[in-house]
Symmetry: C2
Subunit: 473 residues, 2 copies
Amino acid sequence: MRTELNALSLDLYALTMVQGYLAHDMHQTAVFEFFVRQQPRHRNFLLAAGVEQVLDDLAQMRISSGELEWLSRQDGLTQELLNWLRGFRFTGEVHAMPEGTVFFANEPVLRVTAPLPQAQLIEARVINRLQFQTMIASKAVRCALAAPGKQLVDYGLRRAHGLEAGLFAARASYLAGFHGTSNVQAGRQFGIPLYGTMAHAFVEAHDSESEAFEHFATANPDRVVLILDTDDTEAAAKKVVALAPKLMKRDITIRGVRIDSGDLAEHARRVRSILDEAGLMDIQVFASGNLDEFALQQLVSESAAFDGFGVGTSLATALDAPALNCAYKLQSYAGQPRRKSSEGKATRPGAKQVHRAVDRNGCMTRDTVSLESEASPGGNPLLKHLMAGGERTASEIPLALAREYVAGQIDKLPPALRSLDPTDLFPVTVSESVTRLAATLDAERAGSAGSPGNRPFDATNKQHRLKTSGEPA
Amino acid sequence: MRTELNALSLDLYALTMVQGYLAHDMHQTAVFEFFVRQQPRHRNFLLAAGVEQVLDDLAQMRISSGELEWLSRQDGLTQELLNWLRGFRFTGEVHAMPEGTVFFANEPVLRVTAPLPQAQLIEARVINRLQFQTMIASKAVRCALAAPGKQLVDYGLRRAHGLEAGLFAARASYLAGFHGTSNVQAGRQFGIPLYGTMAHAFVEAHDSESEAFEHFATANPDRVVLILDTDDTEAAAKKVVALAPKLMKRDITIRGVRIDSGDLAEHARRVRSILDEAGLMDIQVFASGNLDEFALQQLVSESAAFDGFGVGTSLATALDAPALNCAYKLQSYAGQPRRKSSEGKATRPGAKQVHRAVDRNGCMTRDTVSLESEASPGGNPLLKHLMAGGERTASEIPLALAREYVAGQIDKLPPALRSLDPTDLFPVTVSESVTRLAATLDAERAGSAGSPGNRPFDATNKQHRLKTSGEPA
């Protein structure tokens, strides 16, 4: 039952390339950067998430003797590679945006500086870790913006792409402003508050809905949230009204009810009014079933009756944009900047930094991507030195603190970015030095190789919003 | 680095409901069934996958002492629940379609028969395991149908929703007809053939592309597949032509080249012709980058130059339909059939079986969903008795055999279902006994409770194709 997601969760080509580097003594320092190429259409900004998991992985990554034994039986892998893997320990540097940082397309989010074979080996893992939580956090924050003041709970475990995805979706959504999750493991592993109600099956297993409600309440006196839509939502609400005084005598309070199907706003209005007429103003009304940020926004606008929402599938799968067009690309090797100029996938060379300018209210006004080596363009540098010599430079930021950091940034977002609808792009400037460096590299390459492949780099401030793409590439 | 995906990967409400069942001695036998409510628009059929993982999980599921200790510190959980969890061991029966079975919406895929608390506890896990691999296998088989005779390799690890998702996406796609994966862990854990080429970074790290190609080839003489599009694809192909005789002298054969950007068909044609003119007819041409089943179909129709494809993001995330509208629902308790009649989410009561009729060529013609207890409507029963008393009735079906089983079924698919475009729905009949039982239950419930919630059950043969939905419900 325990799936060991170990060091071999990597692409075979990482091993063959490392084998090539080792055979040719290419151990000098490489710089790779992770970035998102294009924001999905309905993401006015993104939230960096999973940085902490990357740091954990890099600090702990070892190849076990069982893995080595298995590798030694595979064709084509040299003893030199196996020896190197046996001694593997990540010894490099990581600069990254702290967990929860707001960012935009084409900004480096995480930069690895390490001997080339090390930096190459970890490619798939870095992308896998950063993409998923970033994608979920960036979806979850939209739900939070759509339903301000409402309790939001992650219900996504069952539809997440695996148990691990369910776990990290709970983490990323809590980071982004959700109040908790239904996922017990996420409560245990990350200290996220747990929420739970009851399923229709509990009602169905009983001979009557009233009996089911009473059984549930007496067995869970501190957590009485009753599901209303097993058969008839308003009829169930009336059973709640009948049950409440009976429970009150036993000092049991009904905290809430949940509606999971039908016209949620209409049902909520009727249920609210049934409860209010019975003086049960403190019973909260929760809704679930097919919700995303647009549904939340509409429900909140249609009815004041909702106290909170459970959001599942659309959150845990980032249903409208279940992949980010992102990459982890070589920016320099042995002190020399590098780039590829593949059609539509050219990269900006050199180790880079992002500076964020804010106005006097602390509201973000502009980002600048510049070379780490050039003078600061002003503003706050976003990439921090989080790992040195393969070890964290400071202890992990507690998730609750990172969540506050997110909330603080959302407060200072330019109002247009808070909209659910696509808006004008936030200004991200690329420094002249970066643009010049790209042009110089292309000219050198064209000159030295006679290659016709010199494509002028598009240095304008475009944040493409295209369909997601990308393979091991 | 190892993520333990343990027994607490469940929804809190499973614990509160079990607490309710225990408090009221509801230990009698429950029957739950997993089914897909609606096929996504572009899925003419689905492939059951992940059944083997469900069986593994059920056989091995225990609550550890560490988990129990943590649970004991949470509010509201009774000693009775904790004791029950301490002794937890799944002792029930599982009937399911064997790994890789073709199925359709509203057919039970897996049926659990167990004491109610046990069957309830495992809900999220059963859905999580079955949904993901079923979704990926059902996407992968479309790629296989789109590119017959071409080598298909899973490249999805980096964009999968976590490392576990990458692992099971490799498994599900291999089951469905892919030839292998880039994911080394999937090779180790499931014996899936591994494929790998090289990344642009390998070229960029070198001062010249020719040197990079030569370094890679000499270091990996058995696996020489060279990437062409770091700068200029055709220029790179000419470097391959220049390198080939040099390598030949060292007994190294270039197996293939990969193109990852630009107009793939056009590049492939030109590269093929450059290679052929140099007599290098045996070098294979692979493509990757943003591919899905439609792109594969088009590329294959535009150019005969391709030998194989790497498919990543669209496969490992099931990009066009990244969730299935599926559920695990109570069908009977204590010998009494049960259903819910929630709006749009009514279930069919009773323990059910699916029979598949075939014509004299073995081609599937009709499925019938009937009560397990009624006489066979003819055809082959699809749900097999795979677990008894919490133990497998037979050893796990080797993945390679399940893959052959899939291939055999695909050969016998009605031709219309093989199309990538939505087609007429395959006929799935629901037996009169099921329909009558649903009506009887509704009438009884309406009669006994005076509930106006009696919604006639729609027993016509509809396979809705709507957007995915569903929450813990």
